[in-house]
Amino acid sequence: MRRTLVILTIQTLVIVAAVVLSIPAGSATLAQDDTSPSTFARLDGVTIYFTEESREATPFDRSPQGLSRFAGLLSALGADIKSLDWRADIPEDADLVVIAAPTRDIEDYQSARLWAYLNNGGALLIMADPILYSEEDGVTITEMNSRALRRDRGLFLLTWAGYGLRAREDVVVTEVGDGQLDRDLMTGELNTNHPILQGVTGPLAIFSARSLEVDASIQAYDAQPLVYSGAEYYGETLYVDYLQLNTEDFTPGTDTARGRLPLAAASENSMTGARIVLIGDGGIAMNGEGFRSAPSNSAGFVFPANVQFMMNTIAWLVGADSAETETFVFPTPGPTATATPIVVATPTPEPTPIDEAESADEASG
């Protein structure tokens, strides 16, 4: 009995330790006892198309790199989730197109279709990841995601010209001593004037981000930063060199200047009604990062602010920000979120007392 209890206690400690250690060091922390309800806009009748041709993260992928939780939540709110077929025009029922962390560039003909779709009042969510992970012979290779969504080519030429948004080709980092750079951050630097940030109370967890350029001057569009890094961050353009040499410094003229760097931004074109949200981090909605849960595959979101932010983003993009809402109460993340089975020790049968003499008699009998 005592041994069983000891084992259970050790198991619990191991799980707790695993959850805590799995959070990037020095950054995100586990949300504790967040049992406050989350309210999201209903998305009934909303059709959301996810692109997949440029090796994006997909809504049907349940791996840590997938978006299945994000998409599942959208679906639970009433949205219809579909994959986009680029071979034809973007369907007329598309309320939103999501491009999530592509690793190959969006082709020009796809950009042209997107452009026409946006000019017809469409909505677009782009999540641009700065880092590309690949595996070769069992070795994980980290490189800059330089083949997708280049700052001065393709789709970003259009979003910059028409919506004042594009992402730089850098990684938002800060020095943590000994030449080490930290690219994961928790940030509470939020533009709470924007409808997307309404109700987002906690800090957002960002897992490697590209800094954004946002043209917030007076234009036919209204572009606004949504989320900033802390003032100590800069945009490292040679991050892969840092990974190889393990030391890197801010290089004036090459790296993005230090300061509150936009990490997410929204733009709305007043003439067409089109809306775009650009997020410099693809991981913000991935199962294994921004939508991480503990225990895994549960609704105990480790970063509930990320969930709120993403849901608000979708609601704003599809114009559902004033629609009917639904409230979820997510379980507190961590081992306690899952009902721990109460282990009841199986009673050991007590030996029936037997009279020794009698026994002996039987033996002898």
């Binding site: 025009d89 020009d108 003909y109 950009s111 279709r113 026409a116 000019n119 030429l157 259009l158």
Partner: protein, 585 residues
Amino acid sequence: MKRVVSTLRRKVPALALASLAVAALFAFGLVGLPARTGHAQEDDALHVIFIQGRRPLETTGISNVGPEGLSKLADIFRSMGAEVSYQNITTRLSDDTDVVVLARPMRTMGTIESAYLWDYLERGGNLLLALDPEGIYLRSPSVRGANIRSRIGRSALPELFDADYGIRLYDTFVAEPYVSNASVETINTMYSIAHADAVSNPITAPLQQYNLPVWVWGARHMRVEPFVIGGQAHPLFYSDRGFGETSPDIFPSGITAADAATVPVELNLGEDFTGRLNVGAIGTDLRTGARLAILGDSEIIQNGFGLVSSGATPRYPANRIFVERLAAWLLELPEEEWPNLPAGFSWVMLDGDASDWPGRGPLSATDPAGDSAQPAYDLQVMRGYADNRYVYLLLQSAEAPEEDVQVSIPLPAEGSNAPAARVVASRAGIVVEREGTTSELVRDAAMGIGSGIELRLPQRLFNVETIRVAPCVGSGPGQEPLDCFDQALTVPNTPMLAPFDWALIDQPLATVYTNGGVYIRTAPGTNASIAGTVYNGTTFAVLGRNADASWVEVQNGNFRGWMAAFLLTPNHDLTLLPDVSAPGN
């Protein structure tokens, strides 16, 4: 009282129905009006925008009144009631634009330009694109000597046009036979002929009816799919004699020897394209109503090339007809408002029907009735006239001729010792028969059988000042004539012009490039007798050359003879032609 109420009850629905019917009729009447699906529906004026500007694309435009300019195309649009203006492609194309024209981009068609055009099409706009082959070197001052580097093939447009319109652009140069690097050094030596496709469409219908090819000056090709989901595509013109060269390095990069081409013009199987190569196409997006026209050659619509004219008379009437009808189609004008065929040309459809014959000009001759036992071969009336290239004859018999009818026309003797010759025309073709020699096919002659017999014969066959003809008709090859005209008709010359010189079809070509007139001779060398005088701009089919290619044998509707090569601007490499001057050739 009850009856009144009941009558009213019956009448109210009847009145309502009547009102509805009137409203429906009114609505139907409105719907029945020709509605334009383009952008400017709320504005009566038609708006045409030409994309021009040095950056980003460096297209040719309407501000250029020189040979490369599009000012004549702008005038065509204006003649149809459109307001014409230009802008650069740096902003979104306006909703009130009916047609956008983008011709000969010299620089890269990038993401933004492609997206702007596509967005415009997706809003139901109509677009004319004229795109030259990649790499052509233009010497003109307006581009300061530069190669075309539009990179269309790598842009978004081929993928989009293919998916939604069924038109796939390729980065090729349609190389006609006998073309070499030397003959693609300048745009002036890249001229050739493209045939109107047999797939019917309203734009090229007259070109099909009159068998009129169009002139092109170096073209790229495109694939046109007949079946497209949500779209429609029609091929306009094609070439099927050459191949689609895929290397842009066949062109020079400048005018010095160091700038010479690095790749020979040659067919590389597996890389280059063969077969019927479309050099123009139109498409419609059935969802948006957008109309797209793509020409694989911008010279077709340029002032000094396809639209060149002498006063009101176009030098290339087929090009003119095509461009005018294309403009009307893009403006979505009703067909009855489309321009007429240009005046002054022989618009005779060779279908055996007299209805399209000129009213007063052609003279006629008669033949007694009943001098043939078979009414279908009983010649009665002949009409005829000549334009600047051809003789046109219309023969009418007592009844409509049979399909196997054969017409023979004796030709004037070419000399005192020359063998007797005659033209023999039948469904199988038109040949010249000379006693003691094999028959020679006359490629540019044509025949039509309907209620009568129509013939088009090149004037060179007659080779006399005054052409007299006395045709006979028979029932087939080897048969004695069943009837002949007793008296010859003197064919009157008229000031009309042939809309095309059909002798040039499917041949390497050469154009006279000289001041004043030059001689065409009966044999190579200046000692040979003079067959005629020709003038600057006259184009010939080249049949062959002499040993050192200093003289070439040429032919058009008027003449066949030899000319000194230095007087000609050929569209091919003369040295690649067969030597036809040697005995036995």
